[in-house]
């Protein structure tokens, strides 16, 4: 065996042993360490910030958006509606995705036009009042939030469908509106699932 072949096979041995060592320490050790810390010290976050209804049943995660539609996919008027979603058939937590439609894509232009008209009609407002987040699909398809502007145009509809005063609904929306982090990072948001849960509690 010549020297270069011998040193190559020696290096190969080192490489295999090194990778196995790294796999044990970084792949298994590190992952278990973080899992242990998470499950012991921050179990709620580690397990997905799950939220429960009044009966204590898990109904979703405060971080993951949901559809509030009937079996036919039509929006339920008594619930605040989330943004359009491109994850599976909508808010499929097993298939996160954006639409990936480009800015000149005809399908996207048609979808925005259609959504705009439908949302304006559904909420009894003019098309100019429909904000951008209401007619565009998010990046993850699981966006849990809407803008305060989109929440605002839904208040009267929700109040009417539930037979409660618009002021009461408006108050709930304000309670569930969060400003930017530290006052300047990110946008103001309304968590739709938490808001809708609060509405259900109002009824009961």
């Amino acid at each position: 065996m010549n020297t270069s072949l011998r040193s190559t096979s020696r290096t190969l041995g080192v490489a295999v042993r090194a990778l196995l060592m790294f796999t044990v320490v970084l792949g298994i050790g590190y992952t278990l360490l973080i899992t242990g810390i998470g499950q012991l010290l921050m179990p709620s976050q580690s397990n997905g910030s799950l939220v429960r209804d009044a009966d204590g049943d898990v109904v979703g995660s405060s971080l993951i958006g949901q559809s509030f539609t009937d079996e036919d996919g039509d929006p339920l008027p008594e619930y605040f509606q989330s943004r359009p979603s491109a994850a599976g058939d909508g808010y499929d937590g097993g298939a996160s995705s954006g639409s990936n439609w480009g800015p000149e894509n005809r399908d996207l232009i048609a979808a925005i036009t259609e959504r705009k008209a439908a949302i304006a009609k559904f909420n009894g407002v003019s098309e100019d009042e429909v904000p951008a987040d209401a007619v565009t699909a998010s990046s993850s398809g699981l966006d849990p939030h809407i803008s305060p502007e989109y929440a605002a145009i839904q208040i009267d509809r929700v109040a009417e469908a539930r037979g409660v005063s618009a002021d009461k609904v408006k108050q709930l929306v304000q309670q569930h509106t969060q400003g930017p982090d530290f006052g300047y990072l990110g946008e103001s948001t309304v968590d739709v699932l938490e808001l809708n849960l609060a509405l259900d509690r109002l009824k009961g």
Binding site: F22, G48, G98, S138
Partner: protein
């Protein structure tokens, strides 16, 4: 208002990076120059069978890099092909051959291009024991190569450039692992998940049901950013609320992915014994980065394009909690480095906005670039700049006391040719081979018209620069793209590495020439300007034509 928020966010990132620059850079310099091994490390060296005190020639160093990476590819391929037999398989079948080949290369080359949807394809074991391990060691490999080049400048008449196994071990255990543990815990607090629960189905209040995913995400998220890897645990990557739940975790991730690349110039300055040299490289990186942030901001705030104007804002493919500002920040940082994780879908950006990530990558990812890769990429540009300056005044060019002779300039020139050839060659072949072209148009391309070409250009820019982000509408899991992008990633990573290590060897062998009145000072604004000019010139002329066919045409029409 929007500009104010962008400037405030950017200022936050800059301040944190500025605070970290000296301590982190000095610490890394110490890591790679100290003669002392920790007891645990000595045990590891015995275990894997290397003598930490013996330095390697550049050939031996390169051989170690290549063989270690080769073993990584084989191991990652096998783990994907056998994942159905391993724990936490989630009932998933083995990853198909072509995709497994592409993914193995993708993670070993620090690219993390993902031609698949992780939650539908990869088991937990594949992710944490395969992909996450490569997230660490591919990053450590990049840092090691950069340090080897820096030693080339620092050493005199030396036949060796350090020991790869020592550099790899120290980069991993003294830099990446401790930082990742801290970052993972902070991300956990922010709401990133870490469990082995698999998929849970819940009944929603509207009377439907919803699947919620689980997984050991926080541990992988931390190293994915710190190591400028970028491979998402989920398909939506860092826009998935379980990977990136809030605006503050988003800006934290931006800091994490910029932190090491922006501190390495300090390490460089420290090791060559002149901190001013580090500041010069940092300044060149910083100026280019700043221009890029502002350019993307201008494009997205203007919101030009039929769909964005109809909706009122380019919010398609962006999360409400991030809005435009945090999306712009993330998209720029992830493509200026070799990270490629995304918190918004670049495919849906305005045409001119979507061009900016492409330009960032086409610049060669040097401002600040991937961990290690950014520094050696920028030093190559500096070598070219020194050479050009030498030509102008008719003197033998020198950089840090090392003569830039024919051998050095050949290596540097070859280096800057690799990426454009892979990028443009890949795009050209995709449309020139009749069968492939058909497949591209019918299967791969998602958006019609000019935007479709942009998707393909973006893919090859991403692969040949080891970025990993995408115009994700593109269906890349096809025989052609799996193979072509796989080759682009492989050559885009290891040809430049081979040339860099060869350059390190030839620099280390030289003695230092004394500074004279005719020596070009390489820490002054003049030279910083020269580096920036060289970087732009080298790329702009090459890529302008293809950009006019894709995003420029779409954006200006």
């Amino acid at each position: 208002m929007e500009w104010g928020l962008l400037v405030a966010s950017l200022a936050t990132v800059v301040v944190i990076l500025a605070v970290l620059y000296r301590p982190l850079g000095d610490y890394m310099a110490w890591v790679f120059t100290t003669a002392r091994d920790v007891a645990v490390e000595r045990g590891l060296y015995r275990l894997i069978g290397v003598d930490p005190r013996s330095e390697q020639t550049w050939q031996a160093y390169l051989r170690s890099v290549l063989i270690f990476s080769f073993v990584g590819v084989v191991f990652l391929y096998l783990i994907q092909r056998t994942q159905q037999f391993l724990p936490y398989s989630l009932g998933l079948p083995p990853v198909p051959e072509g995709l497994a080949f592409n993914t193995a290369i993708s993670f070993v080359t620090n690219t993390n291009w993902q031609g698949y949807s992780p939650e539908l394809t990869m088991s937990y074991t594949t992710q944490f024991a395969g992909l996450a391990v490569q997230n660490f060691v591919s990053a450590a490999t990049g840092i090691a190569v950069a340090v080897a080049l820096v030693r080339g400048f620092a050493y005199r008449r030396s036949g060796t450039i350090g020991n790869f196994w020592v550099d790899l071990t120290r980069a991993t255990f003294r830099i990446l692992l401790p930082l990742s543990i801290v970052a993972a815990i902070i991300l956990l607090a922010g709401g990133v998940i870490q469990n082995f629960a698999g998929f849970t189905t819940v009944d929603t209040i509207a009377g439907g049901s919803q699947v919620l995913p689980g997984g050991p995400v926080a541990s992988q998220e931390a190293i994915k950013e710190i190591g400028t890897n970028g491979g998402g645990f989920f398909n939506a990557n860092a826009s998935h609320p379980f990977e990136n739940p809030t605006a503050w975790t988003s800006i934290l991730q931006v800091v994490l992915l910029l932190m090491i690349p922006f501190s390495l110039p300090r390490t460089f300055g420290r090791i060559v014994g002149d901190n001013r040299q580090g500041y010069a490289i940092l300044a060149a990186m910083g100026v280019l980065a700043l221009i890029s942030f502002v350019a993307l901001g201008a494009a997205e705030f203007a919101g030009r394009g039929t769909a964005p104007e109809l909706a009122g804002s380019p919010m398609e493919g962006k999360e409400q909690r991030f809005g435009l500002v945090q999306s712009i920040l993330y998209a720029t940082a992830t493509t200026l480095t070799s990270t490629g994780s995304v918190n918004s879908m670049h495919d849906s950006y305005t045409a001119l906005g979507g061009m900016m990530p492409m330009i960032n990558m086409m610049l060669g990812e040097i401002a600040p670039g991937g961990v290690g890769a950014g520094l050696y990429g920028m030093l190559i540009i500096a070598v070219i700049a020194v050479f050009i300056a030498g030509l102008l005044v008719g003197r033998t060019p020198e950089y840090l006391g090392k003569k830039i002779g024919p051998r050095e300039i050949k290596l540097a020139s070859l280096y800057i040719l690799v990426m454009p050839i892979l990028l443009l060659g890949g795009v050209a072949l995709s449309f020139a081979i009749p069968g492939v072209r058909d497949d591209m148009e019918k299967t791969s391309i998602w958006n019609p018209g000019l935007h479709g070409l942009s998707e393909v250009v973006y893919a090859f820019a991403s692969a040949s620069n080891n970025n990993g982000s995408a115009f994700a509408g593109l269906t890349a899991n096809t025989p052609w793209l799996n193979a072509a992008l796989g080759v682009a990633m492989l050559l885009g990573r290891f040809l430049p590495i081979a040339l860099t290590i060869a350059l390190a060897g030839s620099l280390a062998a030289q003695d230092k020439v004394p500074v004279t009145a005719g020596t070009l000072p390489t820490h002054r604004p003049l030279f910083i300007g020269l580096i920036i000019g060289t970087a732009v010139l080298v790329t702009a002329l090459v890529f302008f034509p293809v950009l006019t066919l894709g995003p420029l045409a779409e954006g200006l029409m």
